[in-house]
Amino acid sequence: MINRNNYEAYLLDYLEKSISPQDELLLLEFLDNNPDLKSDLEADVSLSLSNETLPKYGFKDALRKHPSLEYDLSKIDYLLIKKQEEGLQKEEAAELVLLEPNEEELNKESSAYASSRLKRDKSIRFAEKLKLKRWVLNSRIDLRTINRIASIAVVVFLSTVIWFTQDKVADNSGAILSEKVDNFIEQPSQLASANPKVLNKKKVFQRPVSKDSLMKIANDPMGKKERKASTNKKVIKIENRTEHMPKMLALSGVTINTHKEINAYEHGLNVMIPQYMSNNILRRELAAIYGQLEKEGTDSPKMMAFLEGGVKVLNFLSSGSVGMDKYYDKDGNIVGYRVAGSALEVQHKAR
């Protein structure tokens, strides 16, 4: 309901022509009833505030931060450097003129900054370009292909070397070290033509096994007597073994096979280990057999069977490194035997 307290709202809508027809009728009826308010219908609602009437705020420039602050430079330095580096916009150029009205001074400063430009020394050149470049033999074969071919060639070469080395190692089975010992004793001049790798190594002089030594082991398997004697006799005279070696070899009946070349790895595997077994295990066994034969005689079928059994045991332990030959007379009786190991050969005639 329109009354004197709210009629202005209806009146404003009426003047702005946004009033509904019903409200317009109500408003006009209300104004007829209140004629003193009819003059409000002539009010000017087009009045509005313009921008010009707003007060100007004159401190904007003072509030703005100059880009030079970011560089810790003065405005003029910043503008001069920027002019040189990337050029100035119109406003910036005008600002520069304002900051330095003296054109001569401005040009002087500009040239000072221009002189700070580094100039490349064209005399400095990298002289080793060829080292950096990569080359190909032809356009179809690149470095990768060459590398692959080289790799294959190396593999083939190594395989070939291993193949031939294996062949030689197979031939080298036997008492190789003994052969070198033999050369060392009897033919020192041959050392010069031997394999240099072998020559460079310190030779382990292995004393050949004699009948006496075997008997000694048979009588004193644990070496107790010998140790006892050595403790009583502190000073031991060392004989020159090389002088007696040929004689001892002849007496013991040990023969040494000859061979030509040694492969160190194969030598260790195929020679030294069996030899160690022969020296430390098989030798004792052989000595035991030999000692038994000495006591009871070789013509005993029982002892010959024992000897054959011992050889079989040795062959089992050393992968067939010990051989045995028996010699018979016309009547079929055993007249002698020959037991040969990797570094030992014993021949014996029956009593």
Partner: protein
């Protein structure tokens, strides 16, 4: 990048990289080592590197190798400490250039590097930022400050003369 492009890169950019490195460390042997090392690294990845960006890759590699080296040695070479094995300027240099290079040697490492890349190779702020792993605004700040220092240094020397 093909092998041919790699060799082209050697022809085109090895001088610039060598120049850039030599001007920073002033040691010819080390500079050569860095150049060789840089191209060796490029060769290892040449199939992955786009030829259009090879210059940037090379300078970036050389720059970081240089940074590692100088920081490892914990010292900055100074022109007045140059010995016989070290690089010396050619006779053709003017007095102003000598003074300028003395001043450059006195700049902080970052400022010196970016100014050299800017002046010797003409790189933009953005390119320098990519090479040196800096923002564009950082590069700009370094260059502006370096310019101010160089200009002041030259001015002082001129006054003294």
């Amino acid at each position: 990048m093909t092998l041919k492009e790699f060799n082209q890169a050697v022809d085109l950019y090895s001088d610039g990289i060598y120049h850039f490195v030599l001007k920073n460390i002033k040691d010819e042997d080390k500079a050569k080592d860095i150049v060789q090392d840089t191209f060796e690294k490029l060769w290892k990845k040449h199939t992955e590197v786009n030829y259009q960006k090879v210059k940037s890759y090379l300078f970036s590699t050389a720059y970081h190798t240089l940074i590692d080296l100088t920081r490892r040695e914990k010292k900055q070479a100074r022109w007045d400490e140059v010995d016989d094995n070290r690089h010396s300027e050619m006779d053709g240099y003017s007095d102003l250039n000598e003074v300028l290079h003395k001043a450059v040697a006195l700049l902080p490492e970052d400022q010196r590097m970016v100014v050299m890349m800017r002046d010797y190779e003409g790189y933009s702020y953005k390119e320098i930022g990519e090479i040196a792993h800096l923002t564009e605004s950082q590069v700009k700040v370094y260059i502006f400050r370096a310019r101010k220092f160089l200009k002041d240094y030259i001015g002082k020397i001129e006054v003294l003369v």
